[in-house]
């Protein structure tokens, strides 16, 4: 809509009044006062559209959460035999899908720990340092505690996802993924 009342400073080169000028000239005026001018209708439109976008975003998050809860735990998967994992060693496995690398560690005789291998900062692969009781990310020197998988130093702020592990006889099984935010 063309606002006839606003007094324009600059003249268009063809000398015609501003009401007869093409739309692009209204959208990109030469004068700073006209450039900074926001009509009430435009402002209201901006408010409505941005709040609608935020509402849709929130609904999408709720929908995704609901879908994830409905999916349930992924099926249990055999990782390795216990005899293949001596005390003080670790191995990489993929769980629940092939694109999600995870780490299985055995710091002492009776403990089995498993975490997702993607650093929560920028998804580099973390490296277990069992003797120092930590997991190290080489990209930006982020460190996670071995016992909890929580960040202890460097850029990462969120803990690594914990993989629940079960010993069935002599076989180690991954039974679920515990996604954690804090």
């Amino acid at each position: 809509m063309v606002d006839q009342d606003r007094d324009y400073l600059s003249q268009a080169p063809d000398g015609k009044p501003h009401g007869e000028q093409p739309q692009w000239r209204q959208d990109f005026p030469v004068d700073i006062p006209q450039d900074n001018y926001v009509s009430r209708r435009e402002f209201t439109k901006f408010l409505v559209l941005t709040s609608a976008a935020f509402t849709v975003g929130q609904m999408w998050i709720v929908w995704e959460n609901w879908r994830r809860a409905r999916r349930g735990a992924p099926p249990a998967q055999k990782i390795a035999d216990l005899k293949d994992l001596p005390v003080g060693s670790s191995l990489v496995f993929h769980y629940p899908t092939h694109s999600e690398p995870c780490l299985l560690m055995r710091p002492d005789e009776n403990t089995l720990l498993a975490y997702g291998q993607k650093c929560t900062h920028l998804s580099c692969a973390v490296i277990p340092e069992l003797e120092k009781k930590r997991l190290a990310c080489p990209c930006h020197h982020g460190y996670f505690s071995l016992e909890e998988g929580r960040p202890i130093a460097g850029p990462p702020r969120r803990p690594l996802p914990r993989i629940t592990v079960e010993l069935r006889g002599d076989e180690i099984y991954a039974t679920g993924v515990e996604l954690r935010t804090v």
């Binding site: 400073l9 990109f28 030469v30 004068d31 700073i32 006062p33």
Partner: protein
């Protein structure tokens, strides 16, 4: 802040003595230190030492802003055409080619068009622009219309120009002899003529 309406910029080329004081004063300014926004042009260097200071004329319909594809050149509410906005300017040179007065210049190092903004930081505070404050012959004059009319009895200010078919009215005025009539030259017809400067240039190499 805005430039007070009573103050206007007048250029009197006949008073220019070519001392370069305006150029030096302009390049002193902190916002564009080392770069002068004023051009001191020779009218016809082969035949005369007469110079003309060229500052931005601040057109009512600024051609530079009309041709800017990046919407970088804007005019403030008091009619001063501001220099290109640094985040927007794409250094395309359209304004440099389009301005009939040849005012905008491209700073290729900074990839930014820079032009005279009538020392907006000074004039909006009621002070004179740098060039007008130093000009010893007052060829560059900044003051009220009454002042200039009482000081320059034989001159009259002109702020309408014609370039080919383009008519331009400006905020800055040129002072011309009072009794002369406005003459309009067809600038495009002179494009194929050899300029006198070119003749001298060629003779130099023939000798």
């Amino acid at each position: 802040m805005a430039v007070p309406e009573r103050n206007e910029f007048f250029i009197d080329p006949s008073r220019c003595i070519g001392c370069q004081a305006c150029v030096q004063a302009c390049s002193e300014c902190d916002t564009h230190k080392g770069h002068s926004m004023i051009h001191l042009e020779f009218v016809n260097r082969a035949w005369s030492t007469q110079t003309v200071p060229v500052v931005c004329m601040h057109c009512d319909s600024p051609t530079c802003a009309e041709v800017c594809p990046a919407d970088a050149i804007k005019k403030s509410g008091d009619g001063v055409v501001q220099t290109a906005r640094k985040p927007r300017c794409i250094a395309c040179n359209n304004c440099v080619l389009a301005c009939p007065f040849g005012v905008p210049k491209m700073n290729t190092g900074a990839e930014l068009m820079m032009k005279c903004d009538m020392c907006y930081d000074r004039t909006s505070e009621g002070k004179k622009p740098m060039c007008a404050s130093v000009c010893p012959s007052q060829a560059l004059f900044f003051g009220t219309r009454e002042e200039v009319e009482s000081l320059r009895l034989r001159s009259r200010p002109v702020n309408h120009f014609k370039f080919g078919n383009q008519e331009i009215s400006t905020k800055v005025s040129m002072l011309v002899p009072r009794e002369t009539q406005a003459e309009y030259l067809d600038v495009t017809s002179a494009m194929n003529e050899k300029t006198s400067g070119q003749v001298v240039f060629l003779n130099m190499f023939e000798e």
